[in-house]
Subunit: 314 residues, 3 copies
């Protein structure tokens, strides 16, 4: 808990009213003990339950009655500055990790304080398990995997070597003075039966969580941005990149070197061909390809047509 | 050795005849002590020497006389299930590793049981060498490189930091219930004078081996899928992805961010321009680019033509 | 210092005159105690201050009077061979590292000889800091990061897990016999307030340095080639690849999976859309996209036109 008065002083602004702030959160998730920020007038702002909302002057009157509007010059920058104050300590000295039965924890493994490892897990040399991590039963963590603080992992998961789970998302408040880090106080949750390849990066959420649902399989060198949600039984082939807040349904297949731009959703059962660049939400369970994205059969037709045009003229 | 009777019981099917099965293998590589599987009627099935072949009902009569047809609902799924039974233990406690003369093995290096390191090798902190690994003379293994069990490495090789050699290939038997892991019981072999960049991933084979031949050089963040074969003196530039069973001849150059789809071959001396997406076998030693792949000069003509068309109309 | 006579003997060529050679360097950076090489007749050759220059016969007369022309069959190959002689020892046993006040150096961290760590740094388990590395104050080095010898890092930097700073650039002298390694005797310099994601690879320079200037932020799985220069406050999104000697101005944004071909420059404030492939220098502060690179608005028009053409004909 931090006093709003203290937060306002930190931002060097006036504070109308002092209330206790438990955490930062998005407009839609914030409880009435949490602080949020708004960049435009939309439904999320109108419906927020946040105790207070950072806004610029023009948005002040759109903050709902139940919330306190806190007027700043740059709401995203103010939010970024405050996010640092709510970041947990990187390293704590709380309780020792708890390890289940019949585990094989090899030498040179770090188990962070307060972490809980289930039964029959293998954690191999050089793996790093941060603080407050929870790992289920029968997981295999290969050497040098790094699992950041607060990650939650289900049962029967396999993480191949040198993957990184839960590093900070790539988010900054930018101005002509530079880029102010937005501390990512969310986490990563990985459900059961997920297999993750080598050198995969899965970023933690700004708020709440980045989520990989049961049965999904992720190949080597894949990037999964902050706040993504991967549905059940998805297949993500090597070198694919999912930008922040991409939401995949169940049984989605992303071909090699494919990608999404962020803040979009892909319906259950969609197949994205290799190199497909998903530039908008996909609402029908079809096969897509190309960039900007289109149906794969349309892309194939386009390539054939292009070949014809080029040879005509040469 | 496992009894076929036991394997059939595991799959919950009838067993006509009990024979001893030494390993799983592909149709073309299987010996008469090995079990294979077929998904279609082709020459590989007709010519297999496998002791037995998993097939669906429709393929039963195409299994050659010398092999036993084992009828299952889904041959790939049955194979995936059995692959787990043939997987070796991840960690063994057999003989200690043998290290050659004048090596520098830094602290916090793991040397797996039964591994053999040649003379004058440098293996730096945090590197992990699995069980049954063989490394030649004068190799440099930079920190935190992970070399999985059964990998074979020649002389004078350099592996830069955080690369992963021999992790499981990305292969599953998929059904509407989800994806069943195909255990990759093959390995990776790297010949002499190979240099591998940082954060490179080279997957082990399903059967037999993924092979990197002498003198090839691989840049950072490259993905090499299971069962690929890279010829002598190839150059693979950063962020390239080779899908499974790609076969490159000698002196092939793959430009940055290029790729192959799997199960194809590229002739000696081919040059793939940056971002080229090799979508079919290339049988002439030329320079290629674009996606789908074409001759690079054709791609350049296509881009020029496209530019003209676009400006005409605007 | 090495005698030119010795170097010539190593190359199995005659030596006209014996002088002391301090290092290898590029034509433009070489001092009159250094050796360089030239592949063509250009201003850099005409203006070099190098003590001696490796050239083939045809270039001999273009070497300026103040420099000694050393005629070889293949100047790049000769240079590559000599680069090995000038490479420093990979591991030394000089002075212990010096660690500043209030640092948290976790177990299993390697601090190389002669390295200097500033105050209030956190260096987490499994991180490797090579010899002669300099790290400023208040830096956070996450687990299993590998920092090669001679790297210089400023204040307030954050390096996420499993990134690799300073590995050898991808450079070889190639002939029909194979590829001869060019030893990269330069280094990486990273200024203040730089944040680097997970599994990022930044290669050391051949000569001089690869430079990341203050305030720049680099996302996961990015490749930065040898001798690149990234200006102040750049944003490099995930899976981007910068080929060698790319020079970015200030506040350049590179979208996800974008790339540059090498030896080009991008002006301050340029924005490269996701997947943009920068194939030439960009001299105006605009938004670009596509491959070959063009203005993003032109690329969008081209895609719209292509869609129209394809649907017309189908």
């Amino acid at each position: 808990m931090k006093d709003l008065k203290f937060l306002c002083e930190y931002l060097e602004i006036e504070c109308e009213k002092n209330i206790a702030i438990k955490a930062l959160n998005s407009l839609s998730l914030a409880s009435n003990e949490e602080l949020s920020f708004a960049l435009k007038n939309n439904d999320e702002l109108a419906n927020t339950k946040a105790a207070a909302v950072l806004v610029n002057k023009a948005l002040k009157d759109y903050v709902p009655k139940n919330s306190l509007a806190i007027v700043v010059d740059d709401a995203k920058l103010a939010f970024a500055k405050l996010s640092k104050l709510f970041a947990k300590e990187l390293l704590s000295n709380a309780k020792n990790a708890i390890v289940g039965k019949n585990c094989n924890i090899m030498p040179n493994v770090h188990l962070g304080s307060n972490s809980v490892i289930g039964d029959e897990c293998i954690i191999m040399s050089g793996a790093f398990v941060g603080d407050n991590v929870k790992i289920g039963n029968k997981c295999i963590i290969y050497p040098n995997v790094v699992i950041y603080n607060d990650t939650k992992i289900g049962n029967n998961c396999i993480f191949h070597a040198n993957s990184v789970i839960g590093s900070d998302g790539f988010g900054y408040a930018s101005s002509i003075k530079g880029h102010t880090k937005i501390y990512h106080n969310g986490f990563v949750e990985i459900e059961d039966n997920v297999e993750i390849g080598s050198c995969v990066c899965i970023d933690r959420a700004v708020f709440d969580k980045t989520l990989i649902k049961s049965g999904s399989k992720i190949d080597n060198l894949v990037q999964i941005g902050h706040n993504c949600e991967i549905g059940n039984n998805c297949i993500i082939v090597s070198q694919t990149g999912l930008a922040g807040s991409s939401k995949l349904g169940s049984f989605v297949i992303m071909g090699g070197q494919s990608a999404t731009s962020g803040h979009l959703s892909i319906k259950d059962g969609c197949i994205i061909a290799a190199r497909g660049g998903v530039s908008k939400s996909l609402t029908e369970s079809k096969t897509y390809g190309g960039f900007p994205i289109m149906e794969q059969k349309e892309w194939l037709r386009m390539q054939a047509k292009l070949k014809r045009i080029t040879s005509d003229e040469s």
